[in-house]
Amino acid sequence: MLSKDPISPAALLAEVAAPELGGTCLFLGTVRDGPEDSGITGIEYSAYEAMAMAEVQWILGEARRRWPATRIAVRHRLGLVATEEASIGIAAAAPHRDEAFAACRYVIEQVKQRLPVWKKELRADGSVLWVDPQGRPAVVGPA
């Protein structure tokens, strides 16, 4: 579930594929470098790994109880993730598309709220910032 290797959408899709599941929804979250992102070159992800593994299992258990016919796979990157690479991938396959979209959406929302994962933005100017999604990033390295 947690991995330093790049996330393979094809592997996630293969993991959930089954003959009776006609709808599959894949979500990828990628490291952005847009005009508002002031020259990000990558993000360094770290985690409380044992807790993150447990938390994902609880989230998947909840999703499977809510959408019992669904198959779900999750990968979260750790370590340095370059811009345009995926930091998270979630695939959900279900008999019909409603459940596939709902299960995929549920997992990403819960992951964002509950997973003990942190990110440090690495910028082209050499500065390093811990990201607080609820607030302002706090500069912790040379600016």
Partner: protein, 82 residues
């Protein structure tokens, strides 16, 4: 007295200069008591917030949750997964 393994992550680990510390607390105690004690006794930990996110034995808890001898208590900076 109870023995608590206290864990720090990300920015908190940088502030404290360590990822883990042992702490002895008088029982009964809550997570809030552990945080208070840590901020008083552990060098660098005074810079931690008074009310951080916390987990006990891999589960998210509120600060009024009780702790027991041998627990692993983690103080979590604002989550940023996904």
């Amino acid at each position: 007295m109870g023995q608590i393994r206290l864990k720090f992550f990300a920015r908190y680990a940088e502030l404290v200069g360590a990822e883990e510390r042992e702490l002895s607390v008088a029982l009964p105690a809550t997570v809030a008591d552990v945080v208070r004690l840590a901020r008083d006794e552990i060098p660098g930990a005074a810079a931690l917030p008074e009310r951080p996110l916390a987990a006990v034995n891999l589960r998210h808890v509120r600060l009024d949750a009780p702790v027991a001898d041998g627990d692993e208590v983690a103080l979590l900076p604002p989550l940023a997964g996904g």
